[in-house]
Every structure is written in C-alpha cells, then in structure tokens.
C-alpha cells in the first residue's frame, strides 16, 4: 500500500434535530395527524352541536321505523309497513340488479363494437367508431334522461293498444312480455335443465381430456344443444306440459299480467350499457391491438386456424391488458347506477334520499351510501389485484 495512513480527522459534529430527516419526518407526520385529528374533532363537534341544536336524534335506530312509502320496483318483499332499513336493502338489491344487468349488456356491446372497430370492413369500422365517439362524449345522465324522457315516455299509452299476437308490448309503462307460469309438475323440467347443463360441462371436460390423450377431437355443439334444450323439452312434453303462458292484457289503466320491465329500469339499463359499452369497446380495441402482429403471424405460420388463433393466442394476451381497465369500467357503471335518482329508478341513492327526507337522518343515510359503494369498490379491487397478480407475465 502506497498511501500513508494519517489519524482520522473528526468531522464537524453535532446534529440539529431540525435537519435530521427522520426526526423531521416524524414531526411532520405527527403534526399532520394532529391537525387532521383536530380538524376531524372540530367537524364532529360542530356536527354534534348542530344536530343537538336542531334536535335531531342521531344513530341508526331510525332503520327500524316504519317506512310508510311504497317502492315501484320490489325484487324482494316490501310493503309500506316495512322498515326504513328494509327499504334500503331493497335499494341495494335494485342497485345490484341494474349494475349486473348493465355490466353484462355493456360487456357484450363493448366486445362487439371493439372487435368491430378492428374489422376489415370499412362500414362496420365506421359504424363502430361513430358509436364510440358519440357516446363517450356525452354525460351519462343525459343519456339516461334521453331514453327516459325523450324516447320511452313518448311511446303510446297502454290503453289504446292493438293486441299484439306475440303478447309483447312496448308502451310508456315499459316493456311487457308474456310470462311462463310453472305448475307443480314443472320441477322435473327444471331438474332436466340442470342435469343437461351439468352434463355439458362434464362432456366438455371429457372431450378435452380425450383430446389431450389421443389427439382426437369430438364435436361439442350438437350434443350440448341436445342436452340443454332437448332434454328439458322432452321432459316437459313427457310430464304433460305443466306450465301456462300468461299473456299481458289491457285493463282500464295498465297492461296486467305477464312479465313487466319498468321504463325507469329500461332507461337506466339502455343508457348505462350503451354509455359504458363505448368505453369498453375502446378498452377491447386497445387490448387486441396490444397483441403484436408478430403473434398473429407466428400463429398463422404454425398453421393455427383463425378461431384457434384468436382463442389460444390473441385473447389470452389481450385479456391481461383488458381486465384492469375493464374492472374500473364495471365500477364506474355501478357508481353511475346512482343516477337512477334522476328518473326515479328505485336504487340505493334514490331510496336513500327518500328515507333521508322522510326521517331527516342525513348523516346516517349518507354514511350508508358511502359504506355500500366503498365496500363494492374495495371488494372489487381486492379481487382484481389478486387476479392481476396471477395473470402477470413472467419477465426476467
């Protein structure tokens, strides 16, 4: 070693806590938390004071009080004698109904249009583009109101209708279709249907296993159709047609009987699925485009058919890209279902606001809203994160 060692010269020492980032961090955090806590306390204090001054009872006891109002769409039992809490549960169920049906429809629409935007066919491409660009740039509330006020409510009233041969009516009271009323013997048909569906799953699995083992492939479509449609039909016939068809009939005020979909629901359903469908279409398009051309070419060069190529190569890759934004669209749709208030669709916020108004418990009702929506969001994102982690591509 060529360098001679000299005694270490002590550096200027003595630290000030002001310039120590650890201490500083702690101080800042403590101050922030304290400030927030003080702010929170101030708010709570004011709220309590205000509520006390206004002589409003707080707490969730009001949920047991008799509601007294009726709800137009009751998927579960509800009468004016039921409690506020019960009414809110009806609202949650209605929110879920519109959310789920909207999501299904928006997904179908979005995938069709998204694929349409990539079509070789100029017209299809153009049509899809126009759809996407129109509906992405219009507020969802306006779309809802357009369907409700602009379209559905100017349809004819049910009383002056000509009877329709197939029993389907679209009036300003909604969509009315015949309903199938099952009689006691119908359980056999239902059981046959269940058996048929299970059998198709089993068959698909068997086929797949067989293919892996021997390479031989068997058709699935026809046996499946036979099992799902044929089997119940046969049972139905064999048990002696244990069902009747209930046709809607015009009465003094409304069409009665059959299956009815209210215009409020229809407007929400159409608007939400059309609006969200436009976003999903863009996501799907981006997802498919994110799979490079090389992948298609390589698969084609290996001799894969177009269907196989899509199913085995493109779709699995596109899905990784599609799923996360798709989830947030689903969440958006669920949140947008709160706009049902504007057209009187009895979802959580609409019913909540009635409850709020009848009972005066604004803090509690708003808290319920927030908790329900936050809960939905949180559950979804937890699920999604898990799914994403599993799907993530392995890289070096």
């Amino acid at each position: 070693m060529t360098v001679d060692i000299q005694p270490l010269r002590q550096g200027r020492s003595g630290t000030s806590w002001l310039t120590n980032p650890d201490v500083r961090g702690v101080v800042i955090q403590v101050l922030l938390v304290a400030a927030l806590a003080a702010f929170g306390w101030w708010i709570v204090h004011n709220t309590v004071e205000n509520l006390r001054a206004a002589k409003i009872a707080s707490g969730f006891n009001f949920l047991n009080t008799r509601a007294g109002f009726d709800i137009s769409q009751k998927p579960i039992e509800f009468t004016p004698d039921s409690s506020y809490g019960h009414a809110i549960v009806v609202g949650i169920v209605n929110t879920l109904i519109i959310a789920v049906s909207g999501i299904v429809m928006a997904t179908i629409l979005g995938f069709l249009v998204g694929i349409g935007r990539l079509s070789q066919n100029f017209l299809i491409r153009g049509l899809s583009t126009v759809y996407v660009e129109i509906f992405r740039n219009i507020p969802p509330l306006l779309v809802i109101i357009f369907w409700y006020n602009g379209v559905l409510s100017v349809l004819a009233a049910p009383r002056n209708l000509q009877p329709s041969p197939i029993g389907v009516y679209l009036t300003n009271r909604g969509l009315q279709t015949p309903a199938i009323l099952f009689q006691p013997g119908a359980w056999a048909t239902l059981a046959a249907l269940v058996v048929g569906i299970v059998a198709v799953f089993v068959l698909a699995r068997l086929n797949r296993r067989r293919q892996m083992a021997t390479g031989e492939r068997r058709p699935l479509l026809w046996p499946a159709l036979g099992l799902v449609v044929g089997l119940p039909l046969l049972t139905f016939l064999a048990t002696g047609l244990p069902a009747t068809l209930e046709l809607p009939a015009a009465t003094r005020f409304n069409l009665v009987g059959g299956f009815q979909i209210k215009p409020e629901f229809l407007a929400m359903f159409l608007a939400l699925s059309i609006y969200t469908g436009a976003f999903i279409a863009e996501i799907v398009r981006a997802g498919i485009m994110s799979v490079s051309r090389g992948q298609t070419e390589a698969a084609a060069a290996l001799g894969l058919r177009r269907g196989q190529l899509l199913r085995l190569v493109i779709v699995p890759q596109a899905f990784r890209v599609i799923i996360p934004p798709l989830t947030s669209q689903y969440l958006n749709l669920t949140k947008n279902s709160s706009l049902g208030l504007a057209v009187g669709y009895a979802e959580l916020v609409a019913i909540g606001s009635t409850v709020l108004n009848q009972s005066g418990q604004s803090v509690e009702v708003v808290a319920i809203w927030m908790c329900v929506y936050l809960g939905i969001s949180l559950l979804t994102s937890i699920g999604m994160n898990a799914f994403n982690a599993r799907m993530a591509l392995k890289e070096r």
Binding site: A53, A54, K55, I56, R252, L341, A346, S353, L356, G360
Partner: protein, 316 residues
C-alpha cells in the same frame, strides 16, 4: 341561536321557498318571486326590517328543504310544508301556524272516465318523493285494499311532466297543488280533480326548534295577518286605521303598546306588515283566489267568523 339578531345583523331574511309552485312560490317572467308563501317571507321581512324586499329567496326541492332549515341555510321555511308530529319533533322544526289548510287529492285524465278515487285500483300514480303525499298515498290505497304502481320523482315539475306525458294515470299531491299543476298541463281541461280528499295537509311556515324569540316573530306575523283581516285592516287603509279609535286596532297597530318591542321588533310592526303585503285575505285572493288562474275558493281557509278554520289568538 339568536336568529332574529343574526337576521338583523345580516340585513336580509333568508327564506326557503318552493322551486316553482304557481300561487305559492314561483318566479315570474321577470324573475320576481310571488305566491302565498312568498308573501309570508315578505311579511316577516317587513316585520323585522320594515322593508319587504330584504328577502333572499332560496328555492328548495322537497328533499332539500329540511336540511336547509336545520343547517341554518334559511331562517324561515315558507314552502307548502305539511305540519306533522314527526316533523315537529324528530326533525327539530317548529311550525308557526297554518297558512293554508290543504288536503291531498287526485287528478286523472278525463278520458279515463274515473269519478272516484276508489276506482283507481291498479293505476300508476305519479308522486313527488320525500313528501307526506307519498306516505298518505300508500296508506290510502292500503286502507281501501287497492293496488297501485308508484312512480316516484324528485321535482314537482318532473312529476307533472310525467303525468302529462302519460307515464302515469294519476297525479297526486295537495289539492292546491293539483290546481296549480293542472295549469301546467298541455291541455288543462282534459284533466279532472277527483272529489276525494284523503288527508289533512295543514301547510305551515316552519322555523328551527329552540329559538322561541324567532318562533314568536314568525308565529305572530301569521296571526297579525289573520287579525288584520278580521279587523278589516287592509293594505289600502292601514295608514288611516292607525288613527282608528278602536282599542283593539290601536293595540295591534302599535299605538300605546310595546308588543313589537317585546318581541324585538318595532312597535308598528303590524303596520309595516300590512302595508307591505296586505292582510291574509288579500294575500289569499292575490295569489290563489278566485280571480287568479288557480281559482281556489276560500273554503276551509276562510276566517272562523265566516265558517272557515283560520283563527288567530288575539293581540293583547
């Protein structure tokens, strides 16, 4: 808590009114507020400031009205609000006397040939959300063992529009409101108001609970309007009436009494009120009476002396 002091300090009265109910609270083409409830705002402003224009109107939907009052966003809620026990207690309101006796009714299209509400089973009914109307409706149909499909909408204009477009067979609200709504239909004459009145709807101005001074001011403004009518004091003759020898009138108009001061107002508070808006009868006739498009008869809202229900405690 001292609302009167706050109002005086602020220089304006914040008054919650309907977003648009002809005859009770609505804006005319020039954006001026008018209506029976609006005149109550003016009356209170006149009592406090001697100036009926010192009012800031806050249009409120049915859903907004109680929180607005509770929050102190308005000092007075003069918005065709039904006085009920639960509102009086659980919502923390105080109702300052009934300024309009109303009752819930139904309106249907003439072409349906309905003559009684009892024929309405199975009908679709449009109703405003968050109102007592919504509750009475459910009760009435249940009591008579009838079915109905509610269509619950938040704003009264939208309720009316939904009925007019045929979304519902029946429109229900307070009868006064039905008459007002009928005016808003595309063909007013094609609609009939059914005779049944299914509820008591005493409409009353409301204030926050727990401020008795302010409560008194509003309550006695109402009573002053009634007493003025009873004693024949009108907007036109109120100045002359101050010279009236009638001791009752003298007391009321502030000569030799300190009632006004005791409430925190000036002693000539009644003079200011009546010269600003007239007496109750004048207010009624001007806004909803037979000479107006609404054409509502005094009926229950006549003074007790004329067979009606309007009765005011004496000022003495």
């Amino acid at each position: 808590a001292a609302t009167l002091a706050d109002v005086k300090a602020r220089g304006t009265l914040r008054c919650g009114v309907n977003t648009g109910l002809p005859g009770f609270g609505s804006q005319n083409d020039k954006g001026e507020w008018q209506g029976l409830d609006v005149d109550y705002c003016k009356a209170v402003a006149a009592a406090v400031f001697g100036d009926a224009t010192k009012v800031q109107y806050v249009p409120l939907s049915a859903v907004q009205r109680f929180p607005a009052l509770q929050n102190g966003e308005v000092d007075l809620l003069a918005r065709n609000t039904t006085w009920t026990l639960s509102r009086d207690t659980a919502l923390g309101l105080d109702f300052a006397g009934v300024n309009y006796y109303d009752g819930q009714g139904f309106m249907v299209k003439k072409e349906l040939n309905v003559t009684s509400a009892l024929q309405l089973s199975g009908a679709t009914v449009c109703v405003q959300s968050g109102t007592t109307t919504e509750l009475n409706l459910a009760d009435y149909f249940r009591a008579n063992n009838m079915q109905f499909n509610p269509v619950v909408i938040e704003a009264q204009n939208d309720v009316n529009a939904a009925y007019d477009s045929g979304r519902c067979d029946v429109l229900t609200t307070d009868q006064s409101g039905l008459y007002a709504s009928r005016l808003e239909m595309s063909k007013p004459d094609d609609n009939v108001v059914l005779p049944e009145i299914i509820s008591k709807e005493p409409l009353a101005p409301a204030v926050r609970q727990g401020d008795s001074q302010w409560f008194d001011v509003v309550k006695w403004t109402h009573f002053a309007l009634l007493n003025a009518e009873e004693l024949g004091i009108t907007q036109a003759n109120v100045q002359e009436m101050t010279k009236s020898p009638n001791p009752e009138i003298q007391r009321m108009l502030g000569a030799g009494s300190t009632f006004g001061q005791d409430m925190g107002l000036s002693n000539d508070w009644v003079v200011k009120i009546v010269s600003a808006v007239g007496n109750y009868g004048e207010i009624f006739e001007r806004n909803v009476g037979s000479a107006t498009p609404l054409g509502i008869a005094r009926g229950q809202n006549a003074l007790w002396t004329k067979g009606g229900l309007q009765y005011a405690p004496p000022i003495r």
